[in-house]
């Protein structure tokens, strides 16, 4: 590593430690260093810019975990990946009171999946699509399937399809069957509600056994394609009746 780069990294780590120890100190650092032109300014601003302080509450983690998470977020940002889903996973882990090592493992795995989802879904995908795609990859769905789902939906509109695909797979439906069903319905315009209806149908029948879920899925897809089930059917149609609004 070059001496300049080494110095920048060292300074960055020191400033990270200061940031962790005192949010006030971190804010002060931003103010003072932005007006300077020292070589460290770039590193500081880069780190603080890439690390959305407003979302990442470092106080919920121990110092080691928080520092490691910051480095992970910075690394993800440098690769053009969204950090919000990663921060979300980290905060969830803190809320569930799991160990710092477990949190780091989950965040790291999700970052890798986000990179895979970005590659499969394309650079123009929204953060929600990348997040949903990463979930799908981690559920065992391959990148090629993500690409096909992406191609069936307009830009920014693949989230529901990806979420439903992941849910159906998580409920025990074979990946190939789930993929075919979701893609078939996703090709129909404005079919988000129909996709949610598919998810609801599978969820209800999965409680009766994997075979029932599979049969219900196939029946639902046939009905949707043949027009027996409207693509715009509200997802709640398969649920309990909606009660009147609260007074």
């Amino acid at each position: 590593m070059r001496p300049h780069a080494t110095t920048s990294l060292w300074l960055a780590l020191q400033l990270l430690s200061a940031t962790m120890a005192s949010p006030l100190a971190a804010a002060t650092l931003v103010v003072t260093t932005r007006g300077d032109t020292t070589h460290a300014t770039v590193s500081i601003d880069t780190i603080l810019f890439r690390d959305p302080q407003g979302q990442f509450d470092a106080a919920r983690f121990d110092t080691l975990t928080a520092n490691a998470l910051r480095l992970l977020f910075d690394d993800a940002a440098s690769k053009g990946l969204p950090t919000a889903p990663l921060i979300n996973r980290a905060l969830e882990g803190a809320a569930r009171r799991v160990s710092g090592a477990r949190i780091l493992s989950v965040v790291r795995a999700h970052a890798v999946a986000l990179a895979g989802a970005k590659s499969a879904l394309g650079d123009g995908s929204t953060v929600a699509e990348l997040d949903a795609g990463a979930d799908a990859l981690r559920a065992g769905i391959d990148a090629k399937t993500l690409f096909v789902v992406r191609s069936t939906r307009p830009a920014g509109a693949a989230v529901t399809a990806l979420v439903v695909l992941t849910d159906v797979v998580n409920r025990g439906v074979p990946i190939s069957t789930a993929r075919d069903a979701v893609i078939t319905i996703a090709r129909i315009p404005r079919s988000d509600d129909a996709l949610l209806g598919l998810q609801s149908t599978v969820a209800k029948n999965a409680q009766r056994g994997p075979g029932m879920a599979l049969e219900a899925l196939n029946r639902y897809v046939r009905g949707t394609v043949s027009g027996a089930v409207s693509p715009s059917t509200p997802a709640t149609s398969d649920r309990k009746p909606v009660r009147p609004p609260d007074s």
């Binding site: 905060l91 882990g93 929204t126 997040d131 009660r243 007074s247």
Partner: protein
């Protein structure tokens, strides 16, 4: 999140168990009110009270369990059981066993909650006389003969064996209400305790009285058995306060005797009035199913069967005889199905979790920037006493949902278009994915539901 008496917390007495919704006391139900199956284990130890009296020292192991047993109309019933074992310590007894069973009923009346409970407990004490031990350790050795040849060994009477058998019957009722996020509980209980004490007295006659034998003579020793009965009725007032700081539950309570009526025969030691007891309990969740429980009380008066051992418990007559307790509470076993509902032998827990069985999302643009949508979550949980949620919309902070009509619970969130993760729980139970929503990856052992908010472009 009900609270009960702190004394109850520490003292797994009957009252603790059934005190209100928020069975604060019994380890089995320490913490937020829940009808879910729980098992708790607490270790309790008395602290030095500054008097140097070792009689106030005691150590107990306490077990408690709660099991929902169903409902009739709007009234829910639960069974509570506790067992208490006092560690033998050479003072008073070789050990003590106690057990209580309680049937608790809870219901909601308007915005308030009411509870009532009946309990029965049984206690048994078998051991040597505390008096003998006290004298043996506190008095200096007595020389067999004094100067001048005078024999100082006088008549010595000790209680060589003692058996206490007691029973408690209790009825209580109270009301709970929420004010500014805190839960206040007020109640009243009436208890009748009876005790039968059988003592074997060993009497050493003065050395001057000798029993002639074939080989000469031997000192005369006689044994006598006495039996005494005691009954006490006591009325107690209860007030408690419970609140949350993040996931931590705090319970503060005060229990004070209002009146006591005692009847006993001449041989029975006269029981004293129980002191007012203040206590504090803290429940810190460690995982989704395991919580650490810590508690402290100003007096151990309610530990064990109340009124059953008054003569043996010096601390009962003291206002300050602190007790500490620490232990764990197991809310369930970590077995779950992929949809987040408990599986295996604890499958019945799905009912006690509040039957969260539907959720609806109402969308409408409300934020000035137009990018944030108002999302109203409505969850059906008519059997739940409280419902909480957390997710990225709350930055994964636990948020209380508000009770709506028809058994529904409502929360309003401002969500940007996209995908959001959310978990809910009822009555302080396990976090689950709201049934009806797509489930996301289970990264941390607790499933989450996915809410997809579509933007105006769609």
């Amino acid at each position: 999140m009900p609270c009960v008496l702190a004394s109850l917390v520490i003292a797994p007495s009957l009252s603790a168990q059934v005190r209100g919704d928020a069975p604060i006391a019994p380890a089995a139900t320490i913490g937020p009110v829940t009808d879910a199956s729980t098992l708790s284990v607490l270790g309790m130890a008395a602290l030095p009270d500054g008097t140097g009296n070792s009689l106030t020292q005691r150590n107990d192991l306490w077990l408690g369990a709660t099991q929902p047993i169903g409902r009739i109309g709007r009234v829910r019933f639960a069974a509570l059981g506790t067992g208490n074992w006092r560690v033998p310590q050479g003072v008073g007894a070789d050990g003590q066993l106690e057990g209580t069973l309680a049937l608790r009923a809870r219901a909601r009346v308007g915005a308030q909650r009411v509870w009532s409970a009946i309990s029965y407990g049984h206690a048994s004490v078998n051991g040597a006389s505390p008096t003998a031990n006290i004298l043996g350790s506190a008095m200096p050795p007595i020389p067999s003969t004094a100067p001048g040849g005078l024999n100082l060994r006088a008549t010595d009477t000790t209680v060589s064996r003692r058996v206490d058998v007691g029973a408690i019957s209790r009825a209580e009722a109270g009301v709970m209400t929420h004010v500014s996020g805190m839960e206040f509980s007020f109640g009243f209980s009436v208890e009748r305790a009876t005790r039968a004490t059988t003592q074997t007295l060993t009497i050493d006659e003065p050395d001057a009285i000798m029993m002639p034998t074939v080989s000469g003579s031997t000192p005369l020793v006689s044994n006598r058995t006495t039996r005494s009965l005691q009954r006490r009725d006591i009325a107690t007032g209860i007030a408690s306060l419970g609140f949350h700081t993040g996931p931590t539950t705090w319970l503060v309570s005060v229990t004070s005797p209002v009146a006591t009526w005692i009847s006993n025969d001449v041989l029975s030691p006269r029981a004293g009035m129980l002191p007012t007891v203040a206590s504090l309990a803290v429940v810190q969740p460690l995982t989704a199913w395991l919580s650490l429980v810590g508690a402290a009380a100003t007096n151990a008066a309610t530990v064990g069967g109340t009124a059953l051992r008054d003569d043996l418990e010096n601390q009962r007559t003291r206002n300050f005889a602190p007790v500490l307790a620490i232990g764990v509470r197991i809310a369930r076993l970590p077995f779950r199905r992929t949809d987040g509902t408990p599986g295996g032998i604890l499958g019945f827990e799905t009912r006690t979790l509040g039957a969260v069985d539907s959720l609806s999302v109402e969308q409408g643009v409300s934020a000035p920037d137009g990018d944030t949508l108002r999302v109203v979550l409505l969850i059906d949980a008519p059997r739940a006493e409280s419902v909480e949620l957390m997710g990225d919309a709350t930055e994964w902070m636990v948020t209380q949902m508000q009770r709506a009509t028809n058994g529904r619970w409502r929360a309003e969130l401002k969500l940007a278009p996209g995908m959001h993760r959310i978990s809910v729980r009822a009555d302080g139970g396990a976090w689950i994915a709201p049934p009806g929503l797509p489930i996301g990856n289970d990264d941390y052992g607790s499933p989450v539901g996915m809410i997809v908010v579509r933007g105006k472009r769609r």
